[in-house]
Symmetry: C2
Subunit: 450 residues, 2 copies
């Protein structure tokens, strides 16, 4: 890393951490990025965990086409106003112009709900709970930022329909809690669940809940995932109704939710945990949890000792792998241990085990923890229990540290004269608010000017 | 089903089986389809199995953008000639025309290889083995057919690079064998691995291997998945080289493969196994393996017995679920058992358990096997062992039956006069061939005319 993690060069630090840490590469189309295995693997961990979580709630996976006809896309006015400037349009196939341009989904409400109208014929078809894992396109013209603001991104989008509002309300919060847990239990990132203001809610929905994270270096909050109650707006527009089981002949418009968590979560994780040496990966999603490196080899080391060290390094890594851990021996020739330490620190591997001739004598290894640099001797024969518990401790420590920073940065402000001052100290402000949109605008305007 | 599975109305049968079996729905853009949970779940089973298989071979997952600039897309001539007529072009974002139209990937060779050129700097970076799970778009103008020929489809695409040809050759066959196993071990569909002719190989590659299936009703072979050796064609075009470790200063162009398996596999599975009653799902991928239905309830049945039956039905399904099976009790009110039988037959559930008052007396259930209609009594207390073994037997029986049909339909023809006759009998022809392209053309022409 040629820059430190500090506010003045935070963007540079972020790019370097991602590129040198092999999470991502830039692509020749602006706003599009390549997710390399080091980051895509993290996404797969999130997928596996979250997919199991929603299946327990009775959600099923499906796949809807990436294309939307303009007619369908434009059917819900408020909703499409929010997305129209960012829609990518296919107008040509091969050498032929299409009769009607076709949009690439920016999100799938309008793609899916005509079919919900067809599939939901009776209250017995409710609840309908579908999710899809896909990519969506929002052709943003603002500055793109890897993971955080990209033109194509990967996510899951859940779309559910219920007979009653209370059922929908309940699910909104169940999903929001799964999002909180993805951040806290997998990524070791603390978030605060809450409700967005009317102005910031999802276009065309009833209300939006969100988990909000915090980037200490910049003092900025960041949206981590949103779970929307759409109310009956879409069901009225798309005619998704059932006969009221209580009142024969009466039509009920269904209550709907939609919710999404994207690869942005990986960007948040990098920003929260990374340091001057590069990435710091939380152990439960890291694609490599433990790297084992032979060390202490000098010109005087005998060939026999050298071979013994390499064999034992290899054996330890294989043993840990067998126990279900993600471990690897770094036996690359022609690189010094110092080079290797630096390399794996850049890539954020949670634990480095160093094995030298003296350690071997004691049947021990030195464990170096990435996030705080702490060192400890571990007995080789105990590794299959000590390493998993150390990984758990690392997770807890990383989460607690980040939570402490978040908590320390929340300041209650009740007087305007403290407002901008507090923002400038990189703090998050908690303030009483009347929930009126004009006040929200006023606060934004005034703070921007001062 | 209002049509039978026979050649004259095979297309109608196929659509009905898919729609009524709830695998799929038509979409308002021609050539695009909705994968409902009943089929998407099958795709997830294939994904899980195959993903583990390639990870054992050292393949890692990544994600490359869906967009390709025209400049990059057109860089490999032979390759792009094969796809150009089918490429979908984005020319507009929001209200603005793009400076250069951008293509949606029809496959990712040209998307990925400029980066391979950048990432592969030394022979130590080899082999490079990446895979991605994504969707691709080929805007076909021929008749679309669900799963088999669609404008967007889901697949995996593996792209690997090696130092030597023998390594590449080995992997081509390892992957081809995984494809064979997806068909045979998951979908119970027999396939024949082989090499495509020069004319039918992947555009721009060196040679193409394929697993070929067979649709007995139409007597047609069908491509099930392809594993290509690209040779050095792309590495020369994209400048993917390493220094020869044997001969300092000499450049080596890497040897590359690409391989893909798509949701087409689901269509082949439906065509091979389905029958006049609808879908027949192979047990290892079926999203519901066992449905338990209370039966034999008449006007004379006591409330107590009715309740007992319902409770036991429910208990059995839950017990099987606990054992890791996909089971469900059909306790819907207001439907006769006959209606339910028909409903689950249409959807192809491998085993139906019927539980009536007399069965309950004997502590037994009647197990009805979907694919052959056979019935047997099973002791309730043994279900957690008898059902898994019955599911395995069903898999084997389905595979063997399909294999027998395939084998019986292969006829060796050595004389032209038998050629068309044999084709018309819905047989697959095995014939001596000189491997010359003109002969291939001649055979196609002559057989089409006769």
């Amino acid at each position: 890393m040629t820059v430190k993690k500090e506010q003045a060069v935070f963007g540079d630090w972020y790019s370097q951490a991602l590129i040198k840490g092999e999470m991502l590469d830039y692509y020749d189309i602006s706003g599009c990025y390549i997710l390399k295995p080091w980051s895509y693997g993290i996404w797969q961990e999130i997928q596996t965990w979250f997919d199991a979580g929603i299946k327990e709630l009775g959600v099923q996976n499906a796949y809807f086409p990436m294309f939307v006809s303009s007619k369908v896309l434009e059917r819900e006015k408020d909703h499409i106003e929010g997305f129209a400037p960012e829609v990518a349009w296919v107008t040509r196939a091969g050498q032929s112009d299409l009769e009607e341009p076709i949009a690439i989904r920016p999100t799938s409400e309008t793609v899916m709900y005509p079919y919900y109208a067809k599939w939901i014929r009776s209250h017995r078809d409710l609840p309908l709970k579908l999710n899809q894992w896909n990519s969506v396109v929002r052709w943003e013209f603002k500055n793109p930022q890897p993971f955080l603001r990209t033109r194509e991104f990967l996510w899951q989008e859940g779309h559910t329909a219920f007979q009653t509002k209370p059922e929908a309300d309940t699910e909104v919060l169940q999903i929001l809690d799964l999002y909180r847990r993805v951040y806290e239990e997998l990524l070791a990132v603390p978030v605060i669940p809450g409700v967005k203001s009317e102005k910031e809610k999802f276009a065309g929905g009833l209300y939006t809940t969100t988990v909000e994270g915090f980037i200490p270096t910049t003092g900025r909050g960041i949206q981590g995932g949103t779970s929307h109650c759409l109310g009956q707006n879409f069901s009225k527009m798309f005619g998704i109704t059932v006969e009221d089981p209580e009142k024969k002949g009466d039509k009920l418009h269904v209550w709907q939710n939609s919710w999404g968590l994207s690869t942005r979560s990986i960007g948040v994780m990098v920003m929260v945990h990374g340091d001057d040496k590069g990435l710091v990966l939380p152990p439960r999603v890291a694609q490599l949890q433990v790297v084992v490196i032979p060390t202490g080899i000098t010109a005087k080391t005998t060939d026999e000792m050298r071979e013994k060290l390499y064999d034992e390094t290899d054996r330890i890594a294989k043993e840990l792998t067998k126990k279900g851990l993600k471990a690897k021996a770094d036996l690359r020739d022609g690189y010094t241990p110092a080079f290797k330490y630096n390399d794996w620190e850049l890539k954020g591997v949670p634990i480095r085990l160093e094995l030298g001739p003296k350690d071997l004598e004691k049947s021990a290894v030195v464990a170096v923890v990435r996030h705080d640099g702490s060192k400890q001797d571990l007995t080789i024969s105990d590794l299959s229990t000590s390493i998993p518990s150390l990984l758990n401790k690392i997770h807890d420590d990383m989460l607690n540290k980040a939570r402490q920073q978040f908590d320390d940065s929340i300041t209650v402000v009740e007087d305007w004269k403290d407002f901008v001052k507090t923002l400038n100290r990189n703090h998050v402000i908690a303030l009483p608010w009347c929930e009126v949109e004009e006040c929200e605008d006023q606060i934004k305007d005034r703070s921007a000017k001062e």
